[in-house]
Each structure stands twice: as structure tokens, then as C-alpha cells.
Amino acid sequence: MRHPLRFLLLPAATLALAAFQTGCAARPPASDKAAVAEYNQTNDPLEPTNRVFYAINEGLDTVILKPAAIAYKDVVPKPVRTHAHNVLANLSTPVTLANDILEAKPRRAGDSFMRLLVNTTVGLGGVFDVATGWGWPAHDADGGITLALWGLPNGPYLFLPVLGPSSPRNAGGLVADIGMDPLTWIGRGDVVSALDWSRYGLTALDTRAGLLDSLDKIKAQALDPYATVRSLYQQHRQYQIQQVRSDDRATVPAWFLQPSRP
């Protein structure tokens, strides 16, 4: 794969393997039922290793990403940031659409298709998010959610270097998403490569800038930020999956006889 993120895959795989071989959290004795229930619910048998990666990521964030995000927020005016965000969202809509289809959710796929169509044309290449106002709001769909709907087990909590909180299922979904992205396969050469890199860099900045306040707050309020991030991430993923699963809107046109609701 000629993908800019391919350099991440090998080290990530090596580290994950090393993680399995070294640090495993001590399982509480079976007699302590409450502790065992908690251990199972937390679903973090690799906690010692995950914490190491969490600390590394924290260091990288403090030195590189957070200052960059603060600078981005200070230097670039808000309307420009909003439009940049819209463009990035539009670029990722093909992957969302592919996942909507793989999740067998026609109405969501229709929403994504119309978003891509309207925002790319009327929205001038995604600069303006016209589709939301026209009744096609954005929604979440990614490879991790798709695999969950297909019944794949989540596996243990993973904290990946650079990428952050994940799980085997979500990491697999991420690889699938990169493979599904048309932009992964279109064009070659230095210019395309530079554009790809700019997209990833800008996505990182955009995401981090959006999280500045909430992450600061989480870190200030949590006694153990690692555990709080873990809990928030796991609950939020569960919620996203539930949102997709429960979206059973009918595909009958509005002017046609509607099926009775159960």
C-alpha cells in the first residue's frame, strides 16, 4: 500500500505483539466477585502496556499536537477553521457512505450520498455544509462500527501509539477504512503524496483543536485520566453502534403509502 500512514502499521503491529507478550494486568482472585466483575467490565487486560503508550502519547501531545492545535486556533480565524472542517468532512464522506452500505442501512447511505453530492457541488467542494440544512445531517459510520454490526467481538481495550484509544475491532475497521478510501488509491507522485499528508495533518489539527477544552477539563477533573478516557471511549463507541443499529427508517418515499410502525 502506498498510503502515507503505512509506516504506522508495522511498528504498531510489532508493539501490539510485544504488548501481548509482556504486560498483562493481574486478574483478581475469583473469590473477590466485585473485583472480577469490574475487571471484566473494564475489559483492559493489557492495562500496563496501554498505560505506557498512553504516557508516550501524552508526551507527544504536550510537545507537538497540543501547541500546534492552540496555534491553529489562535492564528486561523474561526470561519476559515469551520470551512476547513467542512472540506475534511466532505473528503471522508465516501468512506462513510461505503460503511453505511456495508451496514445495510439504506437511509443512512442515502443521507451520505446526498451530502456528498450537494456539498461537493452546491457547497463548492465541501467548503459549505449545505446538506445539513437541507435535511441530510452528518452521522457516524466507520469500519469499527460496521464490524460490530457484523457481529465481530470487540476484543480488549487497546491504547495505540499516535492513534490513541482503540480495540482490535476498531483498529481492523480503521485499516479497512483506509483501504476503502478512494483518495488512498487516486494518483501518485510527490504532489498527491504532499496533499495526502496535508489532509492527515489538518485532520489531526482540526480534531485536536475541537477537543482542546474538553480534554483539558477531563484531565483536570479526573483522578486517573487514563481510566476516564478509557471509560468515555468505550461508552461512546457503544453508543455509536447502538445509534446505527436502531436506525431502521423505512425507505418508502414520503408520498407513498407508509408501512405501519410496530
Partner: protein, 206 residues
């Protein structure tokens, strides 16, 4: 013979009775759901009035505190967050913990006041959940995408109280509990250490 007929007629009476009682139970819970919805709507209105009002900083904070104390089951949430360690704690520790929890929670709520300027809350349809009532709301802030916030309301012991806030699927009390549990497991399950950490946190905030 007579006995059997009596039994039979009694049995024949049973299903309608069951249906009637089930209907009554449903009706009651429907009423409860409606009451919980209007409770959240009223609380939301109180909040937005204070947040979007013209009051000064300190005055607004005390108004907010009063609303929280009246409508949120703070001690109940505190006990939930300490979970199985509540029973392990001594009465002195329990009291110290409750006080600190209240203080830290208030700080984190009133510290967010600035963010919620111009907030509008739309209340949805309530549904039973985990032995309580879930009232979904959509919170709109200018310049932000709308966010789904669910309020878990318990009617046990008279009036309604909020026992959890679920923001985009993340439960505040579950998150808080996993934070405390993790801290405790890294500090030999010592509730005293947790109380000290909370003291430091409260001092930092206020």
C-alpha cells in the same frame, strides 16, 4: 362439583383481572413518564433562565447551586460513584467523601457557566431505563452542533431527582466511578487516599 365450577369461574375471571391490572400499571407508568418529562422541562427552564439571564457572576453561581441541590440527588450519585467501597469506608470517611464530592461537582458545574451562554434545551419522550426514567433532551448551543443529553430521573421517595446525566451515550456517574475505582486500585483500595486526592482537587479548583 360445585367446588370445581367455582374454581373454573374464578379462573375465568383471572385473565380480565390481569389485563386490567396491567393496564393500570401501564397507565400509572405513563403518568410517571409524563411527570418525569415535565420535571426535566421545568428544571431545564430554570437552568436556561439563570444561564441566559443578566445576573452577575457570584449571584448566578449561587442560583445554579440552589437549582442543583433541589433537583439533583448528589449524595445518591456520590454513593454510586464510590460503589463497593462505600461499605468499606468509615462513617467519618463517608461524610468527608460526601462533602468533597458535592464541592467538586458544584465547581465543575458552575465552572462551565460561560460555555452555556445562549443554550436552548428541547425535551423529548421519556422511557423507562435501569429502574429509573430516561428523559432525552437535545441541547443547542450557538456555534455548536446539537448534542443529545439524557437525564436519568428517579422518583423513589417522593419528588423526582436527577441521578445521572448521559451525554452522547457517556454516563457521567459510570465514568466517574471508573475513575475512582481505577484510582483506588492503584492506591491499595484505600478510601483515605481517594479523599486526600479529592481534597487536593477541590483546593485546586476553588
Amino acid at each position: 362439583m360445585l367446588k370445581r365450577r367455582a374454581l373454573l369461574s374464578f379462573a375465568a375471571l383471572l385473565p380480565p383481572l390481569a389485563v386490567a391490572s396491567r393496564a393500570r400499571a401501564q397507565e400509572a407508568s405513563q403518568q410517571q413518564l409524563a411527570a418525569a418529562t415535565s420535571f426535566i422541562a421545568a428544571t431545564a427552564k430554570e437552568f436556561t433562565t439563570v444561564l441566559n439571564g443578566a445576573g452577575a457572576g457570584a449571584q448566578r453561581q449561587s442560583q445554579l447551586q440552589a437549582i442543583v441541590d433541589r433537583n439533583v440527588d448528589v449524595p445518591g450519585i456520590a454513593k454510586f460513584c464510590l460503589g463497593r467501597f462505600w461499605r468499606v469506608a468509615s462513617p467519618t470517611q463517608q461524610q468527608a467523601y460526601l462533602d468533597l464530592f458535592h464541592r467538586v461537582l458544584m465547581e465543575s458545574i458552575t465552572g462551565k457557566v460561560g460555555e452555556y451562554k445562549g443554550v436552548a434545551i428541547a425535551v423529548g419522550k421519556a422511557a423507562p431505563r435501569e429502574g429509573a426514567i430516561d428523559v432525552p433532551t437535545t441541547i443547542n448551543r450557538p456555534g455548536n452542533p446539537p448534542s443529545n443529553v439524557d437525564w436519568l430521573v428517579s422518583g423513589a421517595g417522593g419528588g423526582f431527582k436527577i441521578i445521572d446525566v448521559i451525554v452522547e451515550g457517556t454516563s457521567m456517574r459510570l465514568t466517574q466511578r471508573s475513575d475512582y475505582y481505577s484510582y483506588l486500585s492503584r492506591n491499595n483500595d484505600d478510601v483515605g487516599a481517594l479523599i486526600n486526592a479529592l481534597k487536593q482537587q477541590a483546593a485546586r479548583q476553588g
